[in-house]
Symmetry: C2
Subunit: 216 residues, 2 copies
């Protein structure tokens, strides 16, 4: 029988939801492969990282790896898709449980910072390798990414509250914010900056009150 990963593109019901599809051994090793790949894709970039790198990092043989995925592209897809899905779920929960729009924005930014710090490799790959996938892989990821974006935009809409409907301003604000969030991996280094909570506080303050000016 082929690897169950092969069904990912068609069944939609593929997640590492528990471990229904395969033996625990299989699922454990798949996670190990994904983790090693994430580290390599993050450090070298998707194109420059090779399957041979993954082989060396995991101690598995070249051919042995292909038992866990069908192509290098699918490997990237799995990383990006599960990451965006995870972010979407967290954001959905925030929006559902927080009524005040401003606090909601703060929670969203804080969640993203914290998620970034705990999954730096994956988020770097989600920001930097957006255009590395093609066809169905690309579309599936773009869909999730759009969902994450739309949820964020809806927060800005509640803040500006132009009697419902999606305004151009809130769309732009969300795009600006996404730029900042997707750029974090370029400068953040562990231990050299305030923690996620503090970073989120400052960034939220900018979006709600602006950068603090001098008081004449």
């Amino acid at each position: 029988m082929g690897s169950p990963v092969r069904n990912l593109k068609k069944t939609v019901t593929f997640e590492t939801r528990g471990s229904q599809h395969r033996t625990p051994r299989y699922n454990k090793k798949l996670r190990k492969v994904l983790s090693a790949s994430s580290a390599l894709f993050a450090r070298k970039g998707f194109e420059r990282a090779t399957i041979r790198d993954v082989s060396q990092a995991t101690g598995m043989s070249l051919a042995g790896l292909y038992y866990y995925f069908r192509s290098k592209e699918e490997l990237l897809f799995l990383i990006q898709f599960t990451t965006f899905e995870s972010l979407c779920e967290k954001l959905k929960e925030i929006i559902e449980n927080e009524t005040d729009p401003q606090t909601c924005l703060h929670s969203m930014i804080n969640m993203h910072f914290e998620y970034f710090i705990r999954n730096m490799n994956e988020l770097k790959i989600c920001s930097r390798e957006i255009e590395s996938l093609k066809g169905d892989f690309y579309r599936k990821v773009a869909e999730k990414r759009k969902k994450y974006f739309d949820l964020t935009q809806s927060i800005f809409e509640k803040i500006s509250n132009k009697s419902g409907g999606s305004s151009a301003e809130s769309r732009l604000a969300a795009l600006y914010l996404f730029g900042t969030l997707n750029w974090i991996y370029q400068w953040y280094r562990t231990g050299r900056y305030p923690d996620a909570k503090e970073l989120a506080r400052q960034l939220t303050a900018i979006y709600l009150q602006g950068f603090p000016r001098k008081s004449k």
Copy 2:
């Protein structure tokens, strides 16, 4: 005699400043090669775009291209370096001529948006391919990039005016802003958004007053 581009790494005096180094014909064709490369690197990414693509786009032969550069990496270097240098010069002039810090921030953001719209390929490459260069090439570009960043940070310092010295807040604000600016290429499409002036106005407003909230 070898191509004068070979001296770029050592002489520092290499710019396409007029056309002192070579025949007008040479300089004209070099610009053509750089322009075609920019379009390809922007569309496909540096790794996926091949010298053969450049050959096809310019109508030149594979070997003929190497008369204008020594390696594919140098090609990327030339694009990034000249772009950042150009941005630095424009920003320096703004900072020297504008005394009000808030207006200065507005001018900087406006300049960047306008430069982006007129050089989308190059700016996309400067944002996305930061980690594609190594060694001296990387360092030279990083130096220019840092200059551009430091100039921007200095504007925030004047705005917050914590009696001189570089504050952590202004550094972070500059990083946040850079994220937004370096992300524009991901969403901006000609004709579908307000013009540069309007985009700059909105983004500046966020950084100075925050995103406009509803008035209760």
